[in-house]
């Protein structure tokens, strides 16, 4: 319990920074929705856009979503939110495990009458709580902004589904961080290595947008597990990806525990 409280205190400052960033981005971004797009319709432009090949559209920076609806507009912003969430989650995961060794506090911690498994359990619990708060703030901000600028609360369900997807994706990134940090030999480079993986996954998700032929690659990048279009079309969650997510989280969690119990601490 002490470890949990300590970890919560340790991350509160970063968490505040991130949530302010999220709030500024979503609220600031949505403020443009009212001014620019609402009610402008523009069917003929949309038709012209659809006749352009997908790759070209993306390279030229046209957006696939219908920006005249509040869901479509929010969907674009969500593309940025998920990148921020991934960076936050992965860094939190890698750091929460590695920092004891980096800050030379690990000997002190190990001398306490708690097992390694207990330490990791408390740390993971603290991390997941942090992610949960991150998502709660995102949800609150999103619902507030979407209602404020969209005019009514018809999109609430959509925003909730999307945020749930965000939470699961961010949890995957968090556990990637913990798994890397407990396996890597030099704790100093655990953040860099984890971020390398996240950036790689992000690039893959961009490549996937460019080409439909590579769809099987979707399984390697959590950025693509929950696609915004499905939520807009009210199709709900993609069950296979939901299962894959839980499977990956379970595996990474086991890997983290197994590796940390046997870890040679770097002092």
């Amino acid at each position: 319990m002490n470890i949990y409280i300590k970890e919560m205190k340790g991350q509160i400052k970063t968490l505040i920074f991130w949530t302010i960033g999220i709030f500024a981005m979503i609220f600031g971004g949505m403020s443009k929705y009212g001014a620019m797009y609402s009610g402008s319709g523009g069917d003929s432009i949309n038709q012209l856009m659809e006749s352009i090949p997908k790759t070209i559209r993306i390279v030229l920076g046209f957006i696939d979503l219908d920006l005249s609806t509040v869901e479509g507009f929010y969907g674009v912003l969500f593309g940025y939110v998920i990148l921020m969430a991934a960076v936050h989650g992965a860094m939190l995961g890698a750091n929460i495990i590695s920092k004891e060794e980096n800050l030379k506090t690990v000997e002190f911690l190990m001398a306490k009458p708690v097992s390694r498994a207990d330490i990791i359990r408390a740390k993971i619990l603290a991390g997941v709580t942090g992610i949960f708060i991150f998502n709660l703030v995102t949800l609150g901000t999103s619902i507030f902004s979407v209602n404020f600028y969209g005019g009514d609360s018809s999109a609430d369900r959509f925003v909730m589904n999307v945020t749930l997807g965000l939470f699961i994706s961010q949890a995957i990134f968090f556990f990637i961080g913990t798994a890397v940090a407990s396996n890597i030999k030099r704790p100093k480079i655990s953040t860099a290595a984890t971020m390398g993986i996240v950036m790689f996954m992000y690039l893959i998700s961009i490549v996937l947008e460019l080409s439909d032929k590579l769809n099987f690659l979707r399984f390697i990048t959590p950025f693509k597990y929950f696609v915004i279009i499905r939520f807009i079309e009210n199709k709900g969650f993609d069950l296979s990806f939901l299962m894959v997510s839980f499977l990956i989280i379970a595996i990474l969690k086991i890997v983290t525990f197994k590796a940390y119990e046997k870890r040679d601490l770097y002092i």
Partner: protein, 265 residues
């Protein structure tokens, strides 16, 4: 000179890894170029059948944006993200490492002035980033030859690539400022990645919500690919701004570094 060499030696491995990763990402994207160019040709044919007035409404020159350089400009957006992280990481790490590794007092007993140390380190950062840029640009040119992209305007290509180098230097210079303000900073990778990603997202956001003033806050938007493609030049005001940011940061770094208290072990 020894300091310069030592810095190069220390960062050799990570620079090689960065260069190879950037090159790998570039190859991955470039492999999509053939399907892009087929689509581009169809699009141009189709657009030619539209009335001219409608096309004017789009207000962009599609010829050049659907060319190889246009595609590279898109890919470049993501390459510059990686370049930015590398630049900032180097900028901070080179100047905080002596403090966190407790080698500061050793270094300062040597018969070199602080200005010389700082200059050697800055030169090392410059060389490492330049090496990364040269290698990946040559790599991309090689791949372009290999997949047969046909003729393209080399000057525009090099200008886009050069803008990446300048962005990298800006972030390295900002890294110097960070290390001057927080000399005993830990978790350099985390800080630089968060900062750069925030800048990157701010850049995307400024374009999406069409707020021109946001562009001044993020170096990723100092060089607009569309502008380079059309004019084969940089936007003068942003070029001046970039140089100003770099010079101001480095001068600030010198001033602080020259007077800083050294933490002895």
């Amino acid at each position: 000179m020894n300091i310069y060499k030592n810095e190069l030696r220390l960062y050799r491995k990570s620079t090689i890894i960065w260069t190879l990763s950037i090159l790998a990402a570039a190859v991955l994207f470039m492999s999509l170029y053939p399907s892009f160019s087929v689509g581009a040709k169809e699009l141009l044919d189709m657009l030619n059948s539209f009335p001219k007035e409608l096309l004017k409404g789009l207000s962009i020159n599609l010829e050049s944006f659907t060319s190889f350089n246009g595609f590279f400009g898109f890919v470049f957006m993501y390459i510059s993200l990686a370049l930015g992280i590398q630049g900032m990481y180097l900028g901070i790490s080179v100047f905080t490492r002596e403090n966190t590794d407790k080698t500061c007092d050793f270094l300062h007993t040597k018969p070199v002035t602080r200005i010389e140390i700082m200059t050697a380190k800055l030169l090392a950062v410059l060389s490492l980033t330049a090496a990364t840029n040269v290698c990946y640009v040559l790599g991309v040119l090689g791949i372009a030859k290999l997949i047969g992209v046909g003729d393209f305007d080399l000057k525009v290509f090099l200008l886009i690539a050069l803008s990446g180098f300048i962005i990298q230097i800006i972030f390295a210079a900002l890294g110097v400022v960070v290390s001057a303000v927080k000399p005993r900073l830990r978790g350099v990778a985390g800080i630089s990645i968060s900062f750069i990603t925030a800048m990157f997202i701010l850049g995307l956001l400024s374009e999406f919500i069409d707020e021109k003033f946001l562009a001044y806050f993020t170096p990723f938007k100092y060089f607009n690919n569309f502008y380079i493609l059309e004019n084969a030049a940089f936007e003068p005001k942003f070029l001046v701004l970039s140089i100003a940011v770099i010079v101001a940061s480095v001068v600030f770094g010198y001033i602080v570094f020259k007077k800083r208290d050294i933490h002895a072990v």
